[in-house]
Symmetry: C2
Subunit: 202 residues, 2 copies
DNA sequence: CTATTAAGCGGACAATTGTCCGCTTAGATT
DNA sequence: AATCTAAGCGGACAATTGTCCGCTTAATAG
């Protein structure tokens, strides 16, 4: 008895949902589209929708995958060829690219981080693949910097976590809405900050 | 025509709501109590409840006021008498106390930061009095440290903001749930981190 | 080709949050 | 004391999210 694969109709629905949701999100904005509306537009039932994606946050996480895959590929490639550059430069490049991605996909990231409905035991943001990846790479580079004495000793893991919590979509939204920052200004401030606190550069 | 004060019955209801909500929150946990239930327990209508507090986050913000008032009084008093101590020590003391408060009132802070229902243009967390206060005091101390050359130059305002985003209830919840950290371990890690990145101490 | 069965389907339902609006009433005015 | 009016009241309603369960069907086994 072989393992039952996903049924063909189910796979088609999965694609249909992603396509429909993506279109609706782009047209009306992620916030304004309800799960009911997605199901209706796709011509399927609520149950079918929720069977695939248990929340809008789930859907957004999935829709981010494409951009994210490109991000990791390009970054891995960069890190490969830039291995000889100072760790400091590579770290700042990583942050720079991450901030670009975050600002570009701000609505998606925000819905993932602060879902419409959320309860205490669902702080899933730090466990989505993009964040895990960011943290892992940060930690690796930080550890390398510590080992090569390019920065003073620190707890690479905790520092990586702290950077992930510091560079987050809600902070960006706050800076954009309350301070009228542009994406570039946000990036500049964060990079400056970490240049100064991590590397003591000026 | 004099300014109309809040009607007596309204003021009584306000107290009644706070008292009822507080009791229900303590008994059943903030998460498990619905606004409907609060209204019903208090013997008032939904409309009356929402007229006072437009969301559970609002209610929690109000309920935090008491603890927070005590916090600021004690802190201001400390800062007054500790003005001669190194800024570094005062900064770490501030963070230490803030983390204690946050851990103690974690559920409240979390509901304020990540309300049950939330939309993009409502990242209110950074604007509640406790956070504004924390940020202001951080900024003042950081600036003092910079001016007296106790730390290397940095953007006091942005650094203060970054610390507020780094020391936040969701990060605590993550560390508690995924890493099984205790409140004391959380505090230790954060203080270590900032000791190292801000002050280069060991 | 037929039978079997588990995965899939979908809309009705429950639970929440938050709004609305006609009725009531506290309290200032005269 | 009588009047007036804006603030207050409260429950019905709308909008969402998320669950449930009897019916359907794709895919495998014989």
């Amino acid at each position: 008895m072989q393992q039952r694969n996903e049924r063909r109709d189910a796979a088609e629905h999965r694609q249909l949902i992603l396509q429909t949701a993506s279109q609706l999100f782009v047209t009306h904005g992620v916030e304004s589209v309800s799960m009911h509306q997605i199901a209706k537009s796709a011509g399927i039932g609520q149950g079918t929708l929720y069977r695939r994606y248990s929340s809008k946050a789930d859907l957004c996480t999935e829709l981010l995958q494409d951009s994210f895959r490109r991000f990791t590929e390009e970054l891995d490639s960069y890190l490969m060829t830039a291995a000889h550059l100072p760790v400091q430069e590579r770290l700042l490049e990583l942050m720079s690219r991450w901030i670009d991605l975050s600002v570009e996909k701000l609505q998606w990231f925000h819905v993932i981080k602060a879902p419409t409905f959320c309860s205490v035991d669902e702080v899933k943001y730090y466990n989505i693949p993009p964040c895990l990846y960011l943290k892992a790479v940060l930690e690796r580079l930080l550890q390398e910097a510590v080992d090569s004495a390019e920065i003073r000793p620190l707890n690479a893991e905790f520092t990586a976590f702290n950077i992930v919590t510091g560079i987050n979509p809600e902070a960006f939204i706050h800076l954009i809405q309350e301070r009228n920052y542009s994406g570039d200004q946000i990036k500049k401030h964060f990079l400056d900050h970490y240049r100064r606190t991590l590397f003591a550069g000026d």
